[in-house]
Symmetry: C3
Subunit: 132 residues, 3 copies
């Protein structure tokens, strides 16, 4: 099953916790054992899995990504959002999570995030489940 | 279906746009709905998805990766290409893209790139399609 | 098939070569052609594929990751392991490898590593194989 979800981001850089959205898509699908691919069809967004208990973890990831890839630099791309493209390639456009016994096999502290690097914008999230 | 494609790179660092090659492999396969895994069997290459409209985006990604992981550093690996190995682990060896209605679900601006970090060389690209 | 393997790490930062463990899981499964998803259910670990012939490659990857994301920084997360969370998001929680003719299609120099960024600890590795 493929589900497309619309997400509205509110800041330039922001990680949106989409864990419950992905869990619901897995429940809606008839997949009992398989995998779930979470994908963003954008070039200035990424998908990451990390702690969603303490919001300071996401704050620290964003802080350090901004340090490694500053908003301003000797970039050529005329739209002025090169840092967002670079961060997207460092984080990656998708994550694959295992489904077992109809459940997403996330660790206790793991959450799934859509990483917005050039918001605020309307974004799409693709959630694909495969039996196997 | 699994397809292996040979790619000849021409520079030390270079991102090769393989989008049309991957699209063709998806068309050749009988997969209607499923996923496509694009994989490089090399330790100094990566696969990334990013904008392929303006070549300056790739130029800027390469520029910043070189800044974060310089060619010369306090590296021990005797072959002298440690930066290429480090960049490969930062970018990742594969990407998974969703197939729906026999089409690769890339975003409007997204292209798939083989990232060469230690060329020029002859490289291989594996394209695997799964129905599901 | 889904296999869970327990891994005990011994240092704060350490890459554990799990290639033979993953190969064995693929052999045990009945998968002839498909994919293998290797996943860590932890927020301070990652999975990477890189050279496992010369241990200096891993040493150099760790060295540079520590430079890019130092252990101490202006981090807010109270547990003091923010660098480990940041490194985990940069490396990613999983890798997908193609299975063909019952074999894992790794390149000649490629090995699969569980990347410990906040050890020593007891960790879990999920190995999922899908036919297709």
């Amino acid at each position: 099953m493929l589900k497309t979800v619309e997400i509205t981001t509110k800041k330039r850089i922001e990680f949106i916790d989409v864990t419950s959205i992905v869990r619901q898509a897995v429940t809606e699908s008839s997949v009992r054992d398989g995998i779930c691919v979470v994908y963003v069809p954008h070039t200035t967004c990424g998908i990451t899995i990390n702690e969603h208990a303490d919001p300071d973890v996401v704050r620290d990831i964003i802080y350090q990504l901004e340090k490694i890839v500053p908003e301003s630099g000797s970039y050529n791309h005329i739209e002025g959002n090169s840092d967002a493209h670079i961060k997207a390639s460092m984080i990656g456009s998708s994550e694959s999570i295992i489904i077992s016994d109809s459940k997403l096999m996330l660790g206790v502290w793991q959450g799934i995030f859509l990483c917005e690097f050039d918001g605020p914008r309307k974004r799409y999230l693709y959630i694909k489940t495969l039996e196997g």
